[in-house]
Amino acid sequence: MVSACAPWLAAAGLLGALVTWNASRFTPGLLTVRTKDLSYLPSPELARMLALGQAGAVSKLEWIDSFAYFELQLERKNDAVSGGGQGFDRLYAILTTLDPDYEPFYQHAAFNIGAVMNRHDRALGFLLLGLMELPHATALWRQAAVELLINYDYEAKHPELMEAFLTQWADSEPTANDKQLVWEWSAAMARRRYRGLDQLPYWQEQLARAQPGSSTAAFIELTMRDQLVRFCLTELQALADAYRAAHPQPPSAVADLLEPSLLADRYPKNLPAWGPFTIEDGRLHLRCDPYGFPFEIRAGRVISRGHERERARRKLIGINIALTDLATTSGSWPTSIAAIAAAGLELSALPDGCAYVLKKHALEIDSDPPPRPPWPLGRTANSPGAAGGR
């Protein structure tokens, strides 16, 4: 019996020992960074031959294997390989030859060769190669456009070529919505020059998805109006400061800020989309603020009445919490605004046209309606002339 079981017992013991030995390599403290050399990589044609009909699978496995090389280059930043040439160039030439339809190869090539190794010409080359193979790959179009915009400054140096590139991108997109996204992307890149509006495309998308009239939509609209009004105030204040530098007196009204020389200095190319200006009947006008109230200048500072009302409304939440605390400690609710003030609760001053009212046990702000409709915030309204009243 024992002799019959002995080989099996010996095998089980050895198997256990070997499994433990193998598993010991994966102990976290012992893991080391794997380095990789790509000097062995053959030419793309030879690689295809050596793949023995399994080009797709071989390319993916080689790609996964090369991740270690990528990690190494993050530190070393020198991908020269023996036999001449660059490791990443050789790697991605092989991968894109073995499976020209796999989009991540082109994306990784552009990232590793462009962002890591700083060879943006080669990175752009791989992206354009990818676009030839996959003309509807939105991510590749976007990445190529970013390369042209950021590293080649195409918008400034060759605006007509950049425009042609974007048109080509829009043409390649299959649906009208996708084509629209190209122009929104373009507008978003342009808006990056104006601080504070970077998130606007995101909120626009959220607004398009939200149920009209829902609390979500209301929240999104408030967020967008807040970002827009801050941007408008920044721009108008900059113009007001410029006005003051150019003239002996500060501007007496916001209409003074529409002085052509000031606008030309601040916006040498074109007026910002979503800015506080609009062109109607061929003339430049100042828009109302995003809430529908006119901008004003007080003591040299540009203010938005709509923004001030919104800030007051936000403060109201804290005041109502304090009011509840007051009622809890005193054992009774104040019956008038004067009683609230008498109880020691500080009520901040309200903008013109607003007044506190006590409804049941909550303080609210009663205000007159805006003289003009608030800015529309939908996707079609992102041109200066399309939105809001003057």
Binding site: G53, G56, K60
Partner: protein, 251 residues
């Protein structure tokens, strides 16, 4: 009589250990293929599909070579061949029957592999499209051509040597597909010489539609049909050669 031999060969092939073992290994490989997708940092669906389709080809060819090379040799070794040939059965019928049975077993194996692979891809959220079935059919034809190659090599050499020669033929068969891209390296007489040698090998790259199928890139059905006809032509040629060799063989 051909059908009787084919039926017996089919049963023998499907019951053979190498057949069942390789199918089991294929199933294990399919299960592990998802790991490649996980490591890649992408959603991994395409990578898993690539690996699954390649496994079908590689294991299919291994099954064809392992079973095909042992087919006639085991008959001789077990002396069952003499029982068959002592009857009024022409040798060509014996060879054709053997290949038909083997081909039937391999087609069943390929269908099972494809079904398992596609089911696994579907279950794991991988890239599944109808084109995978077309790719699977072309891979099955590749495997049948390799079965004919193994039968032919087994007829002229020992099983071990035939296995080595089969694997070399498989490598060459895929390599010749890439040859046109490398022709610019050759000069003078090298070119026609290379073309002549390459033309003697079945171009297995014609059956490698799997990479495009994974990306759901359509194939023209006429083109797919021509590829199948190309495979059938090679099978006919190789079986005919095998018949010719076996007819002259001293058993």
């Amino acid at each position: 009589m051909i059908l009787v031999i084919a039926g017996a060969t089919f049963r023998e092939a499907t019951r053979s250990r190498s057949f069942v073992l390789l199918l089991t290994l294929y199933a294990l490989g399919v299960l592990l293929s998802r790991v490649g997708g996980w490591i890649s940092g992408t959603d991994g669906g395409l990578i898993t599909a690539n690996l699954v389709m390649s496994l079908q080809s590689v294991f299919g060819v291994l099954v064809a070579v392992a079973t095909g090379t042992a087919l006639v040799h085991s008959e001789i070794q077990q002396k069952t061949l003499y029982t068959v040939l002592s009857r009024p059965v022409a040798r060509w019928r014996f060879v054709v029957g053997k290949f038909t049975g083997l081909a039937l077993a391999l087609v069943c194996g390929q269908a099972a592999m494809l079904a398992l692979g596609v089911l696994y891809l579907w279950a794991t959220g991988g890239a599944v499209s109808g084109w995978l079935a077309v790719a699977g059919a072309l891979t099955a034809m590749e495997v049948l051509v390799m079965a004919a190659v193994s039968l032919c090599w087994a007829a002229v050499s020992s099983p071990l040597l035939a296995t080595v020669l089969c694997l070399a033929t498989y490598a060459l068969g895929h390599a010749v597909g890439s040859l046109p891209g490398l022709m610019y390296h050759l000069k003078g007489f090298q070119r026609p010489l290379c073309v002549a040698f390459a033309s003697l090998v079945p171009d297995l790259s014609r059956f490698a539609y799997r990479d495009q199928a994974v990306h759901a890139i359509p194939i023209d059905m006429g083109d797919a049909g021509m590829r199948l006809v190309y495979g059938l032509c090679w099978i006919c040629l190789l079986v005919t050669i095998t018949v010719a060799v076996v007819r002259r063989k001293q058993l």
